[in-house]
Symmetry: C2
Subunit: 416 residues, 2 copies
């Protein structure tokens, strides 16, 4: 069923992509701190990945901040930073309409995707995401297949570019809180390549397993081992494979194992008085079992912006807080869209999460102890490429490559 694969160049957001005639598969291994690969490979349980990076490339790249899923997935499919594409979290406070709104819809996306451009240039594009919440952004204006594992059995030809997904993939629609939610994404990718249904794929996994298990746990090792089998099948099918992560993952607990949380709205009110602060946790999403809406990054809206410097300087020296920026500095240093952050942006330490107030965060739903992300210590993630990098991209890899360069590296970096 293999058909001719288009090698027509395509362009998106100022970058040009010159694809080879091979299937191209980019994987976002959600929440894959490098330690997950280190540990699983240490026990010789990722033989395909090992062989893949021996032939190709393994290194570290810098993600977009905040180190959240939607932010980085939007960056990966556009090739640009949040300052350009506009997705700065799952949630933001709309200061014009004075309401807190979800940012899951493509209507918030300010850049076109390279996937849409590839499809327009003649590639058969498929997007498979674990969580339905990402499907709208990832498939924005795109002709092709766009499904989620979560709702695989609801895909219809006219809306998803495919139907009978379970039969095609050979697996049932998985539970979202499971290893299978991510494995289904990879299996769908394998099936689509094998059956000639797609030749440029973006496979975006989910981090339920990483939120729940540290790298040395058998559940995690078995999960990465199962991922490795699917990666092996993609390589057997002749695909050029690139993989990265949206963010890392760290335990955010005290010495007794309980969550290590700083409730920023609470501490600001205790110190400066009530009713002056609105803290937004942009990690908030409907999938509560992962993290209880607690990450290492929040934004603060002030009712009296003239006090910005005073409040910033106080916050900056509170234990657990590692970085505090005013809006102008966050726009430059953290590459944020000015209209979708607050007056202050606050990041916390490797083992610390920041929240709003206790009543906003239900930790009883967590499976396991608190592991989360969002801050600086989840910014650096692995990049893996199945084919040798050419001289230009070797040089680029040695600079400050980004996780949202992954299509650039996979498509252009492996050209001779």
């Amino acid at each position: 069923m293999m058909s001719t694969i288009s090698t027509v160049k395509f362009e998106a957001n100022g970058k040009t992509y010159s694809p080879a005639a091979s299937p191209i598969v980019v994987i976002c291994m959600d929440g894959s701190a490098d330690e997950y690969l280190d540990t699983t490979m240490l026990f010789d349980r990722m033989p395909n990945l090992k062989q893949m990076v021996r032939n190709g490339f393994r290194g570290m790249v810098r993600g977009a901040l905040p180190s959240f899923t939607n932010v980085n997935n939007a960056s990966i499919v556009t090739g640009v930073s949040p300052a350009v594409h506009g997705i700065s979290g799952n949630f933001f406070y709309d200061t014009l309409n004075r309401e807190e709104v979800m940012m899951n819809s493509a209507s918030y996306l300010r850049a076109e995707t390279l996937l849409a451009a590839a499809a327009n240039a003649g590639r058969k594009v498929a997007v498979v995401t674990a969580k339905e919440k990402l499907r709208d952004i990832l498939s924005h204006n795109m002709k092709g297949i766009a499904i989620s594992a979560e709702k695989a059995n609801q895909a219809r030809q006219d809306t998803h570019g495919i139907e009978n997904v379970e039969a095609i993939v050979g697996f049932p629609t998985p539970a979202i809180y499971s290893a299978d939610a991510s494995l289904f994404v990879l299996r769908a990718g394998v099936a689509f390549v094998e059956q000639g249904l797609a030749d440029l794929l973006y496979l975006s996994l989910t981090d339920y397993m990483q939120h729940t298990y540290s790298p040395e746990k058998e559940e995690s090792l078995a999960f990465y081992e199962a991922m490795d089998r699917e990666i092996g099948r993609l390589l057997e099918l002749g695909a050029v494979v690139g993989a990265t992560a949206d963010h890392g993952m760290n335990a955010k607990v005290k010495a007794d194992g309980s969550p290590n949380v700083l409730f920023v709205e609470d501490i600001l009110e205790s110190h400066f008085g009530t009713n002056g602060f609105r803290v937004i946790c942009p990690i908030t999403d409907p999938y509560v079992k992962h993290h209880g809406a607690l990450g290492s990054y929040v934004v603060v809206h002030l009712s009296d912006p003239s006090r910005t410097d005073e409040i910033k300087n106080w916050l900056a020296v509170q234990p657990g807080i590692t970085e505090v920026y005013d809006k102008a500095t966050a726009v430059r240093v953290l590459e944020q869209p000015a209209d979708r952050i607050g007056d202050l942006v606050v990041l916390s330490g490797r083992d610390v999460v920041v929240g709003r107030r206790p009543e906003y965060h239900d930790l009883s739903a967590l499976d396991g102890s608190l592991r989360s992300h969002g801050g600086r210590y989840e910014e650096m993630v692995p990049m893996l490429i199945s084919h040798p990098l050419n001289a230009q991209y070797k040089m680029k890899a040695a600079g400050d490559p980004r996780n949202f360069d992954i299509f650039d590296f996979t498509v252009n970096g492996t050209n001779p």
Copy 2:
């Protein structure tokens, strides 16, 4: 020649160490970004380290800032941060005496070392450092062996606790700009354990190889492979081995391979006018072939401190600059000694170094292109322990462990 090994507890800077009756060896693998281990292990060239961490522990720890050698070595042997031990670089500006002074002498150390405490408690302690510059700080007030590879053949019993080092180790004094400079340190450690000359050792390597070669270069792979052989011998001798790094290492070059430098004194004068600024590069040391005194961390002394905020805010949004702190914030967030930093502390990006003015930096001496450290992107380093961690230290490893907890982990973390 093995004699009884003391298990008497010892205490330093508020921490208690309960050593086992085995030889204990802590290695500081200078400049070992995790990528060096990843890449060498990928090619199956560190079999002993692989077996060691399969039995024990491998994870990431946070170093002290600035991510320089002396700062982190002083932290490792005291178990505390620069705010406590006072060593904040190789160089600082003494504002009282108005002079720039080297900080290589133990007279600048404000905390006792755990090595001295261990020796006082009856352990046979040996310190072996590649560079002579570190010997004074590491062996402060310590009874035992203290030598450098650089001047191994000059060691005398009364001043170094040992003589005839070349005969004992079985290797000649190495050139300082070589792989052998570090390998000699490890070989000396093996010889001292084997011959019963020491039972608690600190082996501090040098990063000439990492400054000069990226992880995938054959020179680097062969170097780590040679390190692995010595680690294997230490394990064969029954040692409990812990290893970490003082800092990571990144290429600091533009797309054309030339050094990516921001001369901070220059840009400040261009913008704010002349004669108001003194920029100190605390990485400066006599070993010029490594980095040309360019790292990702400088401090700035202002002739008019009332302009601190204005200058800080301007610097914070300059491309390449990632963090700028005033003194009070640097003391808290970066754990610095207030009297040995400047009015401002400036950190730069993963691929950027900060310097003073071009005339202060001789890059012609570099062997290879510019690879350096000092900033946030060289802060996270590996920690490797040869024996399983007990429950308490497993929990500790999952929080925010530090590279200067390495003796704590190696000594206390492996106790049943």
